[in-house]
């Protein structure tokens, strides 16, 4: 292949050394990545492949729409609950069910808890080892780490030299054992790691603190949904009834003690974001100020549906508004309509599926999923032992969704770009304050456009969104208390619970600001059963293969033109891919392997 220029402005050159990373680790699910690296160790071509599917939408056909939330919740146990929420929203949209305010606020708190939990676990346990070198932490002077900790976050109580010495001793004994567990075969002598030992030690300490704290955050789900992962949801509201002062209150799902318990968890989330997570990301980013690549579509071509309406069912009050920005024009945020058949469409020219006419995309309500697992003529290896894929042909189990034909990036960075462009006060103030802190530490003078269009920008936006969500959650908690105080204790609207109250046919959409980006579920209901169910999830957008016009998706775009220290050690590649928090079980669950089963599916 000669050099190809894509419509969305990338030059792809696959003449250099081909490097394959399979499996890509520290993600949810299974993914493969291939890149071509030129003589100067710069990535000139990138190929991202989803390597799993489960066929959940096939399984849903013919089932009770009220049961769907539990099936689709199992799309992903990491972003647990966001698919269940999208599902109950889609069913309620189809059946025109409005839920009580208490139920709305409880669902909001659950969704935002997921944001905080997912973002924290992503940063510390999936992403941090791309920036942080735990072996280097052994060389740190714990006193220097203590000084650094008190500089970047003076209010965090775990900051004494003795504390960091204890952590260091523990890590030292672990590494001296010769059994490195999850750190085994890491890239610890790769020069892509740039932090001084004292910063590495601080980050390792917070890796362990975050592991302890994340289990506390999710207890909010346990109160409202009974368990985590996979809390319970309910079409029409929430299952947790309120009983503040009547008989048997102590055994009721929600009472004063339970609500106090929830408030304590929210306070922990707020504190961890402000004292640990956000300061850590700013501090770590400052050591990588000279590695501002990985922008791709980030902050330039972005999309979200919008979420967190202050007033239920009023999209104009979304605290993270939706829309589309193209070509980096922050002056224009275009509206998005998930119901319009001309807007969101999925293409399969480079996916292991076939359409009758692959030059066209299909809206999710009209989606077709007919698998076609074939390798292109230039692929190397065999059907069950792939050495190299041929990206000129079909090469992924992920479809390619596009907005009016444009490849866009979704995720916290996209939401923050839109919110900033729309002048959302909290986001504007928070972003400017954080960039100020970054510029001060790094001694740079980057504006928002320059800083956000990068791998670091994606990681920073996620931390800021976590902080925002925890703060919003406290507002939700107070609103819930105020509403109960005003005499409203309703938690579920059961008026249309029974299928005999439903129309013969109905269709609906449920959108959620999922941790990884814009999530949409589209449902068709016929005679009380699911006729068709389609999900277009964040990683389908970001991890998409090429489309008929040749546009590359966000994963591939972010890797382009990145210099790497060592071609055979994928530190920089993992760093940029992880900045999206890929979720492959989400992106590829949609596919059925047998096209016939989609139309002649046997139901219970």
């Amino acid at each position: 292949m000669a050099v190809i220029t894509t419509p969305n402005g990338y030059s792809l050159d696959n003449s250099g050394q081909r490097v394959v990373i399979d499996p890509v680790t520290r993600i949810e699910g299974h993914m493969r990545c291939e890149v071509n690296i030129d003589a100067n160790n710069v990535i000139r071509n990138a190929v991202s492949t989803g390597t799993m599917w489960r066929g959940l939408e096939v399984i849903l056909k013919g089932r009770d729409p009220r049961d769907a939330w539990a099936f689709v919740e199992r799309i992903c146990g990491v972003c647990t609950g966001c698919h269940a929420l999208a599902s109950v929203r889609a069913v309620e949209d189809a059946l025109d069910i409005k839920i009580p305010l208490n139920a709305y606020l409880i669902r909001e708190m659950m969704a935002k808890t997921l944001q905080v939990h997912d973002h924290v676990v992503h940063f510390y346990h999936l992403h941090a080892l791309d920036w942080v070198n735990p072996v280097n932490a052994l060389k740190a002077d714990p006193r220097a780490t203590s000084t650094l900790q008190q500089t970047v976050s003076p209010v965090h109580p775990l900051s004494s030299p003795g504390y960091f010495r204890d952590i260091q001793t523990r890590i030292k004994r672990f590494i001296e054992s010769g059994q490195l567990g999850p750190f085994k075969n890491g890239y610890w002598d790769n020069p892509a790691y740039r932090m001084p030992p004292e910063a590495d030690l601080m980050a390792v300490a917070h890796y362990l603190e975050a592991l302890d704290m994340q289990k506390e955050f999710v207890k909010l789900h346990t109160v409202f949904g009974g368990k985590n992962p996979h809390p319970n949801y309910l079409v029409g509201g929430v299952p947790c009834a309120i009983n503040m002062d009547q008989n048997y209150s102590a055994g009721a799902p929600l009472n004063m003690e339970r609500l106090n318990f929830v408030r304590a968890r929210i306070e922990e989330m707020i504190a961890f974001n402000k004292n640990v997570y956000v300061p850590d990301v700013i501090a770590i980013a400052s050591f990588y100020k000279n590695q501002l690549w990985g922008g791709g579509h980030g902050a330039v071509n972005v999309m979200d549906y919008g979420d967190y309406a202050k007033v239920p069912y009023d999209k104009s009050t979304d605290q993270l508004p939706g829309g589309v920005i193209l070509n980096g024009n922050w002056d224009e945020v275009m509206p998005i309509d998930p119901r319009n058949p001309e807007e969101v469409q999925e293409f399969v020219t480079h996916s292991w599926y076939s359409y009758p006419d692959e030059s066209k995309g299909l809206h999710p309500w009209d989606g077709i999923t007919e698998p076609n697992y074939v390798l292109g003529p230039n692929a190397k290896g065999t059907r069950t032992n792939i050495q190299e894929l041929d990206e000129g042909a079909k090469y992924s189990w992920i479809k390619a969704p596009r907005w009016k034909g444009h490849a866009v990036e979704v995720g916290p960075l996209s939401r923050y770009t839109i919110a900033y462009a729309k002048g959302i006060g909290y986001v504007k103030e928070q972003l400017e304050r954080s960039l100020g802190a970054f510029n001060q530490l790094a001694q740079t003078n980057l504006d928002a456009k320059a800083a956000l269009h990068s791998t670091i920008g994606r990681t920073l936006a996620r931390a800021l969104e976590s902080e925002y969500c925890a703060d919003m959650m406290m507002d939700d908690w107070h609103a819930l208390i105020a509403n109960i105080k005003a005499g409203d204790t309703a938690t579920a609207n059961m008026d249309k619970w029974h299928p005999d109250t439903w129309p013969a046919e109905a269709k609906g959409v449920g959108n959620v600001a999922a941790p990884r980006g814009a999530l949409g579920h589209w449902i068709r209901i016929k005679d009380g059963k699911i006729e068709n169910y389609q999900c277009v999830v964040p990683t389908t957008w970001n991890g998409s293969p090429r489309d008929p016009a040749g546009n590359i998706g966000a994963f591939e775009a972010c890797l382009m033109n990145t210099p790497v220290e060592r071609p055979n050690e994928p530190v920089e590649i993992l760093r940029s891919l992880h900045s999206f928090d890929p979720c492959l079980a989400c992106s590829t669950h949609v596919m059925g392997p047998d096209g016939e089963e989609l139309t002649t599916v046997k139901v219970r």
């Binding site: 699910g29 048997y248 392997p593």
Partner: protein, 367 residues
């Protein structure tokens, strides 16, 4: 029992001199000073933490997420001090060829002496290529590693039974582990996901007692799966008294009455949710107002709606006509106990016939 790393190297004909050189190189490769070489050598001459290779097939990662929620022991203590989690693609630093190399290295050093933990299951349709690891079917990786392991932990309902992707019509032919691996001891820890503290208790039991806990005839640990949710539910007195939630958010729902009539599967589900509870004992689904959906039972996705009353389980004491259940409660409990006792006797007989417990080698739990 596990050999030490040093024993293995000596057995493979490596001299002590070469061994010490290896330790120096390891220290250098990690960017550590020469003083670390001696410490690494000492560690390798003493008994290692038991290695675990944790593989992921078709799944949603909820089992891993549950595992890290464990409060006692804390997940960090399990990982840093109890076991050596050498391969787990969800959290491991290495990727691609460096990750795959760990599997071969572990097999070489600890052949027959490591634990294989499986989250998810292999799909058999499409030549197995609906779950690809390193360019090949996940099934290849699973059978390869299983051949060399000491024992297998099947985490969650995917590995144990198939779970959601195996619900009808099971489009990928997702298949539980015990149906493709027949020659290794397997312990099933079902649930979607299993309770965090149940997962870590199973691991620590194996480490402490150097064997599997006693298993039932399905291969589940009796200590957590021998009672139904219903048996120890805090709402059980309302069931016995005939006090039911008739509809969500009704008066009964607010009083914490029994959820049987809105579909609770507690009477047919074997798990520890109503005793150990979830997330450090915070709550469990019934306490939070939703019926049990039976997520630790084989094929629970295809056993009717979450909201449909159980009607086909008279042998366990639930009458088909729920409206009369309160009135006949005393009688039905008697039936339940008798039926349960009979079932237990049968299972004991079967278990004695095909002895499940097999010793599993373990190591010290020290760091």
């Amino acid at each position: 029992m596990l050999e030490t790393f040093y024993d293995v190297m000596r057995r493979q004909g490596i001299s002590r001199r070469s061994f010490l050189k290896y330790c120096s190189l390891t220290a250098a490769a990690l960017g550590l000073g020469p003083e670390f070489a001696g410490k690494i050598a000492h560690a390798m001459e003493t008994k290692p933490r038991i290695p675990i290779l944790w593989l992921h097939g078709l799944e949603c990662t909820c089992c891993s997420e549950s595992f890290i929620r464990s409060a006692h022991p804390l997940a960090k203590d399990v990982i840093l001090s109890m076991v050596s989690l050498d391969y787990d693609d969800t959290i491991m630093a290495a990727a691609g060829q460096q990750a795959e190399a760990i599997i071969e290295e572990t097999i070489q050093k600890y052949d027959g002496n490591f634990i294989l933990a499986v989250e998810g299951n292999p799909p058999l349709n499409q030549d197995g290529m609906s779950c690809i690891i390193g360019g090949k079917p996940f099934l290849d990786q699973l059978t390869h590693v299983a051949k060399h392991c000491k024992a297998i932990i099947s985490w969650g309902s995917c590995a144990s039974y198939g779970c959601v992707q195996a619900a009808k019509p099971n489009p990928t032919r997702a298949t539980p582990v015990h149906k493709v691996i027949h020659d290794k001891p397997i312990i099933k820890v079902p649930g979607c996901p299993p309770i965090a503290e149940v997962m870590t208790a199973v691991v620590t039991y194996i480490l402490t007692f150097e064997k599997f806990p006693e298993l039932d005839r399905q291969g589940r640990p009796k200590m957590f799966y021998s009672q139904r949710i219903h048996d120890k539910c805090y709402r059980r007195p309302h069931f016995d008294a005939g006090q039911f939630v008739e509809s969500f958010d009704d008066e009964g729902a607010r009083k914490g009455y029994c959820l049987y009539k809105v579909g609770c599967k507690g009477p047919t589900t074997y798990n520890a949710c109503s005793t150990i509870r979830w997330n450090e004992g915070t709550s469990f689904p019934i306490q939070a107002g939703h019926g049990c959906i039976g997520c630790s039972e084989d094929g629970f996705w295809d056993k009717g709606s979450w909201y449909a009353r159980l009607t086909d389980i008279k042998q366990f004491g639930i009458e088909a006509n729920a409206d009369t259940v309160g009135m006949v409660a005393a009688g039905s409990v008697g039936v339940a106990i008798a039926a349960h006792a009979a079932a237990s006797a049968v299972s004991r007989a079967k278990a004695n016939h095909a002895k499940q417990e097999q010793p599993v080698a373990t190591s010290d739990q020290g760091e």
